[in-house]
């Protein structure tokens, strides 16, 4: 068997990731989360008399609590591997990354474990968010005045 034939065989037997299905699942999950969030925001506005900014702030708190709580119960990881970006890109993903890294390093102690590795996964979001927002804000001040 020569090399080309072998490559062909390998390609045939590698399990195909169904990209279309994964993309569809991410779309449905992300959309459903946003839809439920909008329902909660509307309830907060109608029943508690909040303005829109207040309701979205409360919604953010609720989302982060849910993401963090479900992660600590242990089955959020399975969902993430199935639904992918549908759960990672909403704010639940941010809470998930912090909580799961906190749970992983808990055994190494409060300071050397939790303290040192708390932002292991979420750190890049904070770092590049702050860097880009800071320099864009300087640019914005120069351009828009």
């Amino acid at each position: 068997m020569d090399k080309d034939e072998y490559q062909k065989l390998v390609k045939e037997y590698t399990p195909k990731e169904n990209k279309l299905k994964k993309a569809f699942l991410a779309f449905i999950t992300g959309g459903a989360i946003a839809f439920i969030g909008q329902v909660i925001a509307s309830i907060l506005q109608e029943s508690f008399g909040m303005n829109t900014t207040e309701s979205y702030t409360w919604l953010c708190l609720i989302t982060i609590f849910t993401g963090s709580f479900l992660t600590s119960l242990g089955f959020f990881d399975n969902w993430v591997s199935k639904l992918g970006c549908g759960l990672l890109i909403p704010t639940t993903g941010f809470a998930h990354s912090i909580t799961s890294s906190a749970l992983d390093v808990k055994k190494d102690g409060l300071v050397t474990g939790l303290g040192a590795s708390f932002f292991k996964l979420a750190g890049s979001v904070l770092l590049y968010g702050i860097i880009s927002a800071f320099f864009l804000a300087i640019l914005g001040v120069i351009i828009y005045g």
């Binding site: 779309f27 959309g31 927002a133």
Partner: protein, 116 residues
């Protein structure tokens, strides 16, 4: 109408992330960082506030809103305090997201046992 918009925008952002994740070697960490920077950029171009107005939670629940809040915080700080406000105001608006994520993660890490 805002419900449909929220569904479509939230779904679209997640779909975009999933397509990037599946077709490149980038990790979820890369994706969330890219979307945060993208949010700051859209806020800089004045597009993000419009998205929030049109599709509500579809824009505010995504990680890109984090970049938007950072940018808006810096600009609000500049309006209140001048140049130094850029730095002192940067984290004000997204303080809730960071604080609550840290507090909940810490509490749950202390009381729950990790599952393998």
């Amino acid at each position: 109408m805002i419900y449909l918009n929220a569904f479509l925008l939230g779904g679209f952002i997640c779909l975009l992330g999933e397509i990037i994740l599946d077709n490149t070697k980038l990790t979820p960490g890369h994706i969330t960082s890219i979307f945060t920077v993208l949010g700051a950029l859209l806020s800089f171009l004045n597009i993000y506030p419009m998205l929030i107005e049109k599709s509500g939670a579809g824009a505010t629940m995504m990680i890109s809103n984090f970049g938007n809040l950072l940018y808006e915080g810096a600009i609000t700080g500049y309006k209140n305090m001048g140049i130094i406000g850029l730095a002192s105001g940067l984290l004000t608006k997204c303080s809730l997201a960071i604080t609550s994520a840290v507090i909940f993660a810490f509490i749950f890490a202390l009381i729950m046992k990790p599952k393998d």
